[in-house]
């Protein structure tokens, strides 16, 4: 079966799932059915994506259409293949998760219907073969996600978070339309393939403008700093699977868009575009992780780490474009491959982490890390699954995050192969920034895992949390995927190299995979490694000593005594590091960025007041909201006030407006 056929199956599955959910008005059985259908559709999506990766672009299928609206045109392109497979995986995991997570009911029915349609929309975006189809699908995804976030409209901040999302994606949409219009006008075609083949017709200035518009437009969705503010607002208020979908897929659609423009539609641009993209990515990565470090809310924390990962992906793309501009076609293709790999990894573990965050919130009733603690004893299964995801996202071997980030670094280290020293230095600087980001990411996730799961429970809820029917299948599947993406790295690289081959026309395969399980990135004389052997080795290194210890040692001569506590105290939960105190050193080191504020007052300073309560708080200034967006919002409001007088409400005036507009359009046409 061709990739497109799989896509049809998936689409059908999601439509049916939506229908089933709605039909039953949220009857448990039909919810169940809906989830099963949605899962099957996801599986089909995986298959479709995989075959698209493998067999390359399919033919373009057109349906219906008219001169004005344009036609519906679909195509399974190999660039979209990776994203489609990821979409399938995410949908499958969420389907396995949702029916346990949501209590049955009409709201759930609507929610699931919206969710399945959103999946459909994403698939449409990925399969769109012409501009109109793409834009319509894109817009529908935006609206459907807006509804997803509004699952619990009653709760505080939900409306606000959803609005941040909608406002920013609409702003982005306008820019996208502009970008596409430029391309369509200059290549006289609405079809992506033709645009790609006629890209040389686009004058340089227009091409750069189109790319910048697209970068910004998709950047809103992908969460490039400073366009990222919707993520930390929308993710916490969305239901767990909703935010998992947002971070695992929707954000990656932004990356897809950028890749679409950078590699398929406008293959090789000037170097400065690449450097610009790379810089934006590097800054995004660093700032994302730095803000993640000072979040106490689990989901806001994960949202910021999503921003960081987007940054890493975009950095890879940008570096690829730079190399392309300097004619390093192998590196150009290779970094695209590495970026796509990271997309797949990030989608997997970020979905996993959001789903588990949902489990924690569900069982303990809070997302505040400083109210959790000791969950490893209460939720062992979640603890194991989350640990896998955490190791992955912290890019520690032998998990998948390490593989892709290592590949990206290997690419960036080739910076010296561009002719220009300056560019080489810039690329290395970007690599250094990613290095800092990687280190901080480990710090952040030691904190993000240690505070909630290790130590003592800080509140009664977290002390009494229990594993009763929390969904395990979904996150478990993703955990398996994380391991598979690491252990099976050579296979993944092989598949991706075929896809990249179709996109760029560069065949990486023989250089890249000489042996079966070894990868030689970028340049044969530079470096090589084998994630598979590494995994085997690391597992052996950790397990064998334990076995020796257990076997070689008689149990008798070791005694167990209580933890040394200095003599008299009994440990209390308040005597352990909390999320905010753990990250205190960063607030000191990067205070220029955080501008931390400390508020503290004591009941009284008399010796008598000493044992009285002390109020102490330290907060981090939300720089971008305060110094960038608040002014913008004010400006918009001012503008609205200014143009209100136009809205007189008199029909004749509006007719006059219409007349003037048509007149203007006519005159422009005539000139």
């Amino acid at each position: 079966m061709s990739a497109l056929t799989w896509f049809y199956l998936a689409a059908g599955g999601w439509v049916l799932a939506a229908a089933a959910a709605l039909a039953g008005r949220g009857a448990p059985r039909l919810i169940h059915t809906a989830c099963v259908l949605s899962g099957l559709a996801g599986a089909a999506g995986i298959a479709g994506g995989a075959s698209a990766l493998w067999w390359g672009n399919s033919r373009v299928v057109s349906a219906g259409g008219s001169v004005i609206v344009g036609t519906l045109q679909l195509q399974a392109s190999s660039l979209a293949g990776a994203f489609a497979a990821l979409l399938g995986l995410v949908a499958l995991a969420i389907a396995a998760y949702a029916f346990r997570y949501h209590e049955a009911g009409p709201h759930t029915a609507i929610y699931l219907a919206v969710f399945n349609l959103a999946c459909l929309g994403c698939l449409a975006v990925l399969a769109a073969a012409n501009v109109v189809t793409f834009l319509v699908a894109w817009e529908s995804v935006a609206l459907l996600c807006y509804l997803l976030i509004l699952r619990h409209p009653g709760r505080t901040d939900v409306a606000g978070g959803a609005f941040w999302f909608l406002a920013l994606s609409e702003t982005g949409f306008v820019l996208l339309v502009a970008a596409f219009v430029i391309l369509a006008a200059k290549t006289h075609s609405m079809q992506l393939d033709l645009i790609a083949t006629r890209a040389h017709l686009v004058p340089a200035g227009w091409r750069d403008a189109a790319y910048l518009l697209a970068l910004t437009g998709f950047g809103f969705k992908a969460g490039l700093v400073p366009l990222h503010v919707w993520l930390p607002e929308a993710h916490p208020v969305a239901p767990a699977d909703g935010s998992a979908f947002l971070s695992g897929l929707v954000v990656n659609l932004g990356a897809y868009g950028i890749a679409l423009f950078a590699f398929r539609l406008l293959p090789v641009g000037p170097a400065w575009l690449g450097l610009l993209t790379m810089g934006a990515g590097a800054i995004t990565a660093a700032i994302g992780i730095l803000y993640a470090l000072n979040e106490r809310d689990l989901k806001r924390f994960l949202a910021f780490s999503t921003i960081e990962n987007t940054g890493i992906i975009v950095t890879a793309f940008g570096a690829a474009m730079t190399f392309g501009a300097y004619g390093q076609r192998a590196l150009w293709a290779f970094l695209l491959l590495a970026g796509l790999y990271h997309v797949a990894n990030h989608g997997t573990y970020k979905t996993l982490l959001f789903l588990e965050a949902g489990v924690i919130e569900h069982t303990t009733g809070t997302r505040d890390m400083d109210r959790l603690g000791g969950l490893i004893h209460r939720l062992p299964r979640s603890a194991v699954i989350t640990l896998i995801g955490t190791l992955g996202i912290a890019a520690l071997p032998p998990l998948n995050g390490f593989v892709s980030e290592w590949l990206i670094f290997q690419g960036l280290f080739q910076g010296f192969r561009t002719g220009s020293h300056l560019v080489g230095i810039l690329i290395v600087v970007a690599a250094a920034t990613l290095g800092l980001t990687g280190g901080l990411a480990i710090y952040a996730f030691v904190r993000g895992y240690g505070i909630p799961f290790l130590g003592m429970a800080r509140t009664r809820q977290s002390a009494e949390a229990a594993e009763t029917g929390q969904p395990v299948a979904g996150p478990g599947l993703l955990a398996v995927a994380c391991v598979a993406l690491a252990v099976g790295a050579p296979l993944v690289v092989l598949a991706l190299s075929r896809a990249v081959g179709t996109v760029t026309g560069v065949t990486l395969r023989p250089d890249l995979l000489p042996g079966n399980l070894t990868i030689i990135p970028a340049h044969t004389d530079f470096s090589a490694f084998s994630p598979t052997y590494l995994t085997v080795f690391l597992v052996a290194v950790t397990v064998v000593p334990v076995l020796i210890y257990l076997s070689g040692r008689p149990g008798a001569d070791s005694v167990t005594v209580p933890v040394w506590d200095g003599g008299m105290v009994t440990f209390r939960p308040r005597m352990q590091y909390s999320a905010m105190t753990f990250s205190a050193p960063t607030r000191v080191t990067f205070d220029a960025l955080y501008r931390p504020s400390v508020s503290m007052h004591r009941a009284s300073d008399d010796p008598a007041g000493r044992s009285g309560p002390v109020h102490y708080e330290t907060e981090v200034t939300p720089v971008f909201q305060r110094y960038l967006y608040t002014p913008v919002v004010r400006a918009v409001e001012w503008l609205a006030d200014v143009i209100r007088p136009m809205q007189s409400g008199d029909v004749n005036v509006y007719l006059l407006y219409l007349f003037l507009v048509i007149l203007a359009a006519y005159l422009i046409g005539a000139l």
Partner: protein, 511 residues
């Protein structure tokens, strides 16, 4: 020690004018004013207004309990004791007027079961949590057990408590403190010391002064002479005995030797806290030489058994002093000079553990800590007892109130001590003891220990046995400035440095 002429004191006259029903008497060398309990509050207001320093507050007797407030009139060369009998279980809240009194209010509550009329919760400072009704006390068991100190709970997540001790570094006393930190800076700090309380004041009852002095100088081993002298002076005041002049000079020699070795030890501890082990070694060489000098001069490295009520038991070996003192002090001075030019050391001291003069005054701090905060308090100069009447010390002060200021004050004092010892030996220091009559009486004694003013109040019954002995070493006062010093913009690695610069003992405050 000469009794002070009552009328001589302007503050006293003012007090007598301010309160009604006051009756004047002389307790040995101090002036005592007995007031009705109702007048206590007004008297406290008046005295604090007149700049008197509430040096101590304690209770004695049982039904009624007899409150003693000891006021230091630092400007007027004498102490003023205001007494009031408290019937019932409440007395006017004094710590609202003189905040320094709070710890004593807590102690009185634990020991006598009476509390200030203010509703503020009283903390556990002395007796251990397991102290039940049959636990030995000076008075009655409090109706409600005192509150345990604990970390503030409203810091949720933004700071956490760092439990430390009581078993902590090697070779230091047991002390527990809970450090509340935001990960870097110190938000709050509290400590308890009841696990070292040996019930000394309870122990001394019914003993003769001579017997008691054995335990008195083991109250705070590092100021055996200072506390021992204060006790001896109290007994002598109570019995109106005067120690021979050469014995008093011997006491002073011993006291200044004690100051020397304590300041050397504090310097060594500072170096250890700042991780400057080579400086520590230098200071410890000086310290060991000073201790050996003590052994050579008085036959004991820590000068135990030199002072006894009525006089001294040993005469200093003047040749040993002349032979060793300047060499040993030179060792210390060279070490201090080298430290003063070691930036890595000074950087840790500067602006660390600041105690403002205001804090020092409100908390009633004494000794080098207060002097480093610009408080010119030195009982050798303010309340000179022989031999300090003719051998006046120059008081060293600083204004910054940080660790460096304490370091400098200590070393100025050390030099001054050497000068005093030379003068005292010049004037002639020998042994000699007055016999103590077995008679009733009560008296106040004081001495400037290396940590500051130590106060002892003694009450004797007619056959000369102790009915109430109040021991107040300087550590009792200065620990209450420690948490403020730690909270003043310090990161928690500064705490050991601040502790070393205070150079207090837990034994002294727990006694």
């Amino acid at each position: 020690m000469t009794a002070v002429r009552p009328g001589a004191s302007g503050t006293l006259a003012g007090l007598l004018g301010a309160v009604s029903g006051a009756s004047l008497s002389g307790i040995g060398n101090a002036v005592a004013v007995r007031l009705p309990a109702a007048e206590l509050e007004r008297a406290a207001h008046h005295l604090t207004g007149a700049g008197a320093r509430l040096a101590d507050l304690f209770a004695a007797g049982q039904d009624p309990v007899d409150l003693h407030l000891i006021w230091a009139l630092d400007g007027e060369d004498h102490y003023l004791i205001t007494q009031a009998e408290v019937t019932g279980d409440q007395y006017p809240p004094l710590s609202d007027i003189a905040p320094a009194a709070f710890a004593e209010e807590c102690e009185i509550y634990e020991q006598f079961g009476i509390r200030p009329a203010s509703g503020k919760p009283l903390n556990r400072v002395m007796l251990p949590p397991h102290a039940g009704p049959d636990f030995p006390r000076l008075g009655r068991q409090p109706p409600v057990p005192p509150a345990d100190l604990h970390a503030p709970h409203t810091v949720g997540g933004h700071a956490f408590e760092f439990p430390f001790g009581p078993v902590r570094q090697v070779g230091v006393e047991s002390l527990y403190y809970g450090l509340v930190t935001s990960g870097e800076e110190i938000v709050d700090l509290y400590m308890f010391t009841w696990h070292k309380h040996r019930g000394l004041e309870w122990r001394l009852r019914g003993r003769t002064p001579r017997e008691a002095s054995f335990h008195v100088e083991r109250t705070e081993g590092l100021s055996a002479v200072g506390v021992g002298w204060a006790f001896a002076a109290a007994v002598e005041a109570a019995l109106d005995v005067t120690a021979p002049a050469q014995a008093q000079r011997t006491r002073a020699v011993a006291l200044e030797l004690e100051r020397l070795y304590n300041h050397a030890a504090a310097t060594a501890a500072l170096c250890q806290a700042t991780g400057l082990s080579i400086g520590q070694a230098a200071a410890e060489i000086a310290l060991e030489r000073l201790l050996r000098l003590n052994a050579a001069v008085f036959g004991h490295r820590y000068l135990f058994g030199v002072v006894q009520p009525g006089g001294v038991r040993r005469a200093p070996d003047a040749d040993a002093v002349r032979g060793g003192l300047h060499g040993a002090h030179g060792e210390l001075r060279r070490a201090a000079d080298a430290l003063a030019s070691t930036n890595s050391f000074l950087d840790r001291l500067e602006a660390a553990g600041i105690v403002t003069g205001e804090q020092a005054r409100r908390l009633g701090l004494v000794g080098p800590v207060a002097r480093a905060s610009g408080q010119r308090i030195d009982s050798r100069a303010d309340h000179p007892a022989p031999p300090y009447v003719e051998h006046r010390p120059a008081v060293a002060t600083r204004d910054r109130g940080d660790v460096l200021a304490r370091f400098q004050v200590m070393h100025e004092e050390a030099a001054e001590s050497v000068r005093l010892i030379d003068d005292l030996l010049e004037a002639g220091a020998g042994d000699g003891t007055q016999e103590l009559p077995a008679a009733a009486g009560s008296g106040l004694g004081w001495a400037e220990t290396p940590r500051g003013e130590a106060l002892v109040f003694v009450g004797l019954d007619q056959d000369g046995r102790i009915t109430r002995a109040r021991l107040r070493p300087a550590s009792v006062r200065n620990w209450r400035g420690f948490d403020d010093a730690c909270r003043s913009q310090n990161v928690f690695t500064d705490v050991p440095i601040i502790e070393a610069s205070f150079w207090l003992t837990v034994a002294g405050t727990a006694r």
